[in-house]
Structures are given as structure tokens and as C-alpha cells.
Amino acid sequence: MALDRWIALVLLGICLIYGYTAWFTMDGSLAPFMRRNPIWPSTFPKVLSVLGIVASMIILLGFEKAEPKTPDIDYRKLGEYKLGQAIGLLVLMVAYALCLRPLGFLFSTAAFLVLGSFILGERKWHIMIPVAVTATMIVWYLVQQVLGIFLRPLPSMFGV
């Protein structure tokens, strides 16, 4: 089964769970006076769940024929691409999300930029570090001073 139909199966599952919530569990907590309304909070989701289930079934059962075309990246040969680098960068992004508050903006960002180039295969430390640090400082200055949005610069143990 091709990837698009697997995805349709996942989407069908999502729509079924969504539909179950909308049709059966959501109305339980509705206040009595709201039950007299022609529209309930669950009305629109009910319609959507039906539409979603129908559409995902059509894709899943292959009713609509599409001409095969050569995609930009063929997922069947994913191993031939630089998958490791992509996953490495995704992990780095998650790490950045988790470190941004505790370690502060300046350190996290500089580390993110340096490690990002490192994952992509760059080894010229004497260029990477100055570029990352300068860019971090500039962005911090622009966001904090020019746009006026607070970004905690230093690790949280230093107060601020």
C-alpha cells in the first residue's frame, strides 16, 4: 500500500476519534439551558467528522485515480538521502525548545547554530563560532530592544 493510503488510514483514525468525541462524549457537559440552542458546540465538529471520514475513505479505497508522477523526493528510497542529518536537526530543534527557558536565549541559540552546522558536516570552528555568536547577539538585540519582546538572555539560575 502506498504511503498516501497509509496516511489516509491514519487520518481516518483521527477523524473517527474526533467524531466519537463530537457525537458521544462532548454533549455530556453541556449546560441544560444551552441544550435549547439550535447550535451546540459539537454541531460543527459533527459535520466535519463525517466529511473527514468520507474523504479519507475515498483516498483509502483508491476511488480517485491519479497519474503517477515523479515526486521531488521518493520516500521509498529515503535511505539514499541524508536522513541522518535531517533527524539530527529535528532532535536539535526539540533540544532547543527544551533548553530555551532554562539555559537562556543567548547560550541556547549560539549552541543551536554551531551544532546545526556541525550536524551538516561543517568543521571550521574558527568560522562557525564567531558567526553563531554574532548572529545571536544581533537577533537578541533586534527582538529585545527594537521589537520589545522579552527573551530571557541568561540561564534561569541568574535570576532575570
Binding site: 538521502y81 529535528l90 543551536f112
Partner: protein, 504 residues
């Protein structure tokens, strides 16, 4: 109209807004030139900056400038490197790249710039004429018509998705609408589908979703397949002048394609990509035999046609956004989100409530096109240097700006995790050839669609509004036809291919 134009001139010609146009065009050209980064990613990255300025006209002027700049930058990289940064400029590389290979890169860029300028300017002129007309009609609409109109818009986007793609586009639209129901709605003080998580109480952030749908997958694709863009240089950029003969031959092309491109751009779901391909095909078909042989080998006409059409279409796509508040493309959907964040609701009342926003945008379109012609063209040889930045440095920065955009919007680190999660899902969807723009359009329209639906339900105490208001019924029937027609036609084409005679 004259009065409005004066308001627009007054607003747009302040020092601040002029700087916004210039800055937006330059930033757009700069980033649009990088292969793989489309206008949607760039605008998504620029939104936090625009929103934090707090001035709706300035923000929209900046974003519109970025939009034109990105399209222009995309055509530059199509011509110089045969690496279109944007789907809308793929057709420009058919003839632009051969011209550059013949050593006429400078001439090709000039033709592209003039064609874009004319397309954009004529498009802005048409916008100025048609938008007020359309919005005076739209003032007669009730919430039930709005609901129906949005359904038409969403189904048109699915219908124009291409053969074999209609159901997928429809599925993505529904998924976008489903995502929009998460959180607390305006009409009901009740959290829905939050799974008990406090972070989902306010729903998903639209910037987060925009970044995850466009910027992140594009960056990941760049990582996965580094040599996606062929990097053999199209030659040195010199001799930017064109001859009078060439100018004469492209003039009718520009005239025709400005009109055609604009009206294609107005249709929801069509937009710059379809306009440019169609423009190229039409011009090739009506050219003389000797000119037809030139197409694909460096024809000036073949370059001018898609360039004019895509710029006119970009302008055209502003018509439904500014008059009805319904975006027809991913880019205008992002602009709509930004406007709502700035407390301006686009729609027929925009021209009455915020005339300065409406007219300033139109005036800034002229200024933006003018700036692209006089400022960007001479600077292109220098801006093209951005293509030399090694990808090892470029990609971490792109990822960082996506993260920053999502963080600044919400000031919440959970948003970053959501961004990565949605980004992975979006990349999988992109692998399986699901279109992502309908999802975002569905998400942005979802709230308004439900509000208008609920309001009509309350006014008519049920679904009676569907048959009691003829206009609503008509629009909904149109929506159904739009969705069914492509699959019916595909079926008939298959039947004909199989040798079965069809009814008519």
C-alpha cells in the same frame, strides 16, 4: 475612488511606510532567491516582525513588499541557476535559463523585471477598479451567505488542485477545519478537543502552523537532498539593456498576460503557478511559426509571458482577500491571519472602516513594483551573491528563524515542540503528495466559517437558512458542483481513453 487614492497616497508616502516597502522588497528578493524557500515561508517568518509593529497599514505594506520581492527573487534564481525558488516561477526558467546560458543573463533579468513591473502595475489598476465594485455587492451578504461563500472558496481550492488531487486537497481542508476547532471558540465558552492540556486552551497558533506547513518541510527537503538545485552558473550578469525590437515584441504579450493573469489570480485556489503556466502555453500557441520554434530556447516572449502573468495573479489574489476576507491562496491566507492578529478584519467593510489600510496597500503595490524595477534590478548582481552562502550555514539559520517566529508569536516553549511535531507530519504529508496550502487555508477560515454557520443557525433556528435564502442555496450548489466536476471529467476522460463512447 479619487478620495480613497489620496488617503492611500497620504498613508503610503510617509517615511516609515516607504522604508517598509523598500525593506520588504529587498528582504523578499534576498530570501526568495534561495532555492527551496517560497514566498509562504518568507512571509511566515516575517509575520512576527510585522505584527509587533502594531500598525496594520505598515504591517500589510511590509508583507506585500516581501511577497513581490520573493516572487521577483524566485524568478532571478530561475533565470540564473535554473533553480526556481517558487512554484510560480518554474515557467520562467523555460526560456530564462536558456537565455542566461547564451550569455544574455542581464537581458533576461531586464525582461523579467519589466514584465513583472507591468504585470504588477496593471494588476493593481484592475484591483483598484474591481475591488470596490465587488465589496459593494458583498455588503449585501448576511452571515449565511458568508458561510456559503467560504464553502465555495474552500471547495474551489480543492477543485483546482489538479487531477487525482481533489480528494486529497479536500481531506487537507477538512483537517485544517478540524484543527481550527481545537481550543475555546468565540461563541461557546467551552474548551473543545484540548485533551485536558492547558497549552491547547487557546488553540493552535497560526504562525506555528504556517511555519510547520511550509518553512520546515522545505528546509528539511533541502537537508535531505542537497543537490536539488543544479548549481552550474548561468554566466555573468552584464548588459542589462533590451532593444526596441524586443520591447515591441513583448508589449502585446504583457498586455494580454496582465489581464489573463489577474483574473486567474482572483479565482480561489488558482494563483500564480497556474497563471504562469497557462500564460506560457497561451502565448506559445498564438505565436507565429518561427517564434514558436524559439520557445524553450531563449525566447523573449516566452520569458515575458509567465513573468507578467504571475505578478498580475499575485495582485489578483488580493481581490478576494480585501473585499470578501476570503483568502484564495496560501500566501493570502497567511496575510489574513496577520491582519486578524492586528485587529483588522478584511472584508467588505474594510473599505469603510479602515480605508487607509485598503488604499495604502494599493498605493504600496505601485511603489513596490517601481522599487523592484529601479532598485532591485541594478542591485541584482550583488544580491545574487546570497546564492554563494554555504548551505551548512544557511540551513541552521532557516531553522532558527522558523523556531523564533513560532516562539515570538506565543512566547511559549511548548509552541516549539508543536512546531517540530507538525513539521514532521507535514513532511510526511508532502512525501505522499498531499497539498499543504488547503490545510492552512482551512485552518484560518475555520473559525470564521463556524462563527457564520452558528450565527445563521441561531437566526433561522436551524438549517432553514439554506433554502430560505436563495443566494446561500445557489452558492452551496456551486460548491458541490465545483467538487464533483473534476472527478466527473476525469472519469469521462478515462472512459473515452478506454474506447467507450460517452453520452454527448
Amino acid at each position: 475612488m479619487l478620495e480613497g487614492l489620496l488617503i492611500g497616497l497620504h498613508t503610503a508616502f510617509s517615511i516609515k511606510n516607504l522604508l517598509m516597502v523598500i525593506g520588504g522588497c529587498l528582504i523578499g528578493t534576498f530570501i526568495g532567491m534561495l532555492p527551496g524557500l517560497g514566498p509562504m515561508s518568507i512571509i511566515a517568518i516575517m509575520i512576527p516582525v510585522a505584527i509587533s509593529m502594531g500598525d496594520a497599514s505598515a504591517a500589510l505594506i511590509l508583507l506585500a513588499g516581501v511577497y513581490y520581492g520573493a516572487i521577483f527573487g524566485g524568478s532571478t534564481s530561475s533565470i540564473l541557476l535554473n533553480a526556481p525558488g517558487v512554484a510560480g516561477t518554474v515557467a520562467s526558467s523555460f526560456d530564462g535559463y536558456p537565455m542566461a546560458k547564451k550569455g544574455k543573463a542581464g537581458k533576461a533579468l531586464t525582461v523579467a523585471a519589466i514584465a513583472s513591473f507591468c504585470g504588477g502595475t496593471i494588476g493593481a489598476l484592475l484591483l483598484m477598479i474591481f475591488a470596490p465594485m465587488l465589496s459593494s455587492v458583498a455588503l449585501l451578504f448576511h452571515s449565511s451567505e458568508y458561510f456559503a461563500l467560504m464553502v465555495v472558496g474552500l471547495s474551489a481550492i480543492a477543485a483546482f488542485a489538479g487531477t487525482g488531487q481533489v480528494t486529497k486537497a479536500l481531506m487537507m481542508t477538512v483537517l485544517g477545519l478540524i484543527l481550527a476547532t481545537v481550543g475555546e471558540g468565540a461563541l461557546f465558552n467551552m474548551p473543545r478537543f484540548t485533551m485536558g492540556l492547558m497549552d491547547l486552551q487557546s488553540g493552535f497558533g497560526f504562525i506555528t502552523l504556517a511555519m510547520a506547513m511550509f518553512a520546515l518541510p522545505e528546509a528539511l527537503f533541502l537537508v535531505l537532498k542537497p543537490n536539488r538545485a543544479s548549481t552550474d552558473d548561468g554566466g555573468e550578469i552584464k548588459d542589462l539593456r533590451i532593444t526596441a525590437k524586443e520591447a515591441k515584441s513583448i508589449a502585446p504579450v504583457i498586455g494580454r498576460q496582465s489581464l489573463q493573469g489577474f483574473f486567474i489570480g482572483v479565482l480561489p485556489g488558482a494563483g500564480a503557478t497556474i497563471a504562469s503556466f497557462l500564460g506560457y502555453a497561451v502565448e506559445r500557441n498564438i505565436a507565429t511559426k518561427s517564434e514558436q520554434d524559439e520557445f524553450g530556447k531563449g525566447s523573449v516572449k516566452g520569458l515575458a509571458a509567465p513573468e507578467t502573468a504571475n505578478n498580475a495573479a499575485c495582485t489578483g489574489s488580493f481581490v478576494p482577500l480585501l473585499t470578501l476576507g476570503i483568502p484564495g491562496s496560501g500566501t493570502t491566507a497567511i496575510l489574513l491571519g496577520a491582519l486578524i492578529a492586528l485587529n483588522v478584519s478584511p472584508g467588505p467593510r474594510l473599505m469603510i472602516d479602515n480605508p487607509q489600510v485598503f488604499w495604502a496597500v494599493i498605493v504600496s503595490m505601485y511603489i513596490g513594483n517601481f522599487i523592484l524595477l529601479i532598485l532591485n534590478l541594478p542591485l541584482i548582481p550583488y544580491i545574487a551573491k546570497v546564492l554563494l552562502i554555504p548551505r551548512n550555514y544557511l540551513i541552521p539559520f532557516i531553522l532558527f528563524f522558523t523556531l523564533m517566529g513560532a516562539y515570538i508569536g506565543q512566547n511559549n516553549a511548548t509552541e516549539l515542540l508543536l512546531l517540530v511535531g507538525f513539521g514532521i507530519c507535514a513532511t510526511a504529508l508532502k512525501f505522499a503528495d498531499y497539498p499543504l496550502a488547503p490545510l492552512l487555508i482551512g485552518f484560518i477560515l475555520g473559525g470564521m466559517l463556524e462563527d457564520n454557520f452558528s450565527r445563521s443557525m441561531q437566526l433561522y433556528d436551524g438549517v432553514a437558512f439554506v433554502w430560505e435564502r436563495p443566494m446561500t442555496l445557489g452558492l452551496l450548489v456551486l460548491a458541490v458542483i465545483l467538487v464533483i466536476l473534476p472527478s466527473y471529467r476525469a472519469r469521462r476522460a478515462r472512459a473515452r481513453a478506454a474506447g467507450v463512447a460517452d453520452g454527448d
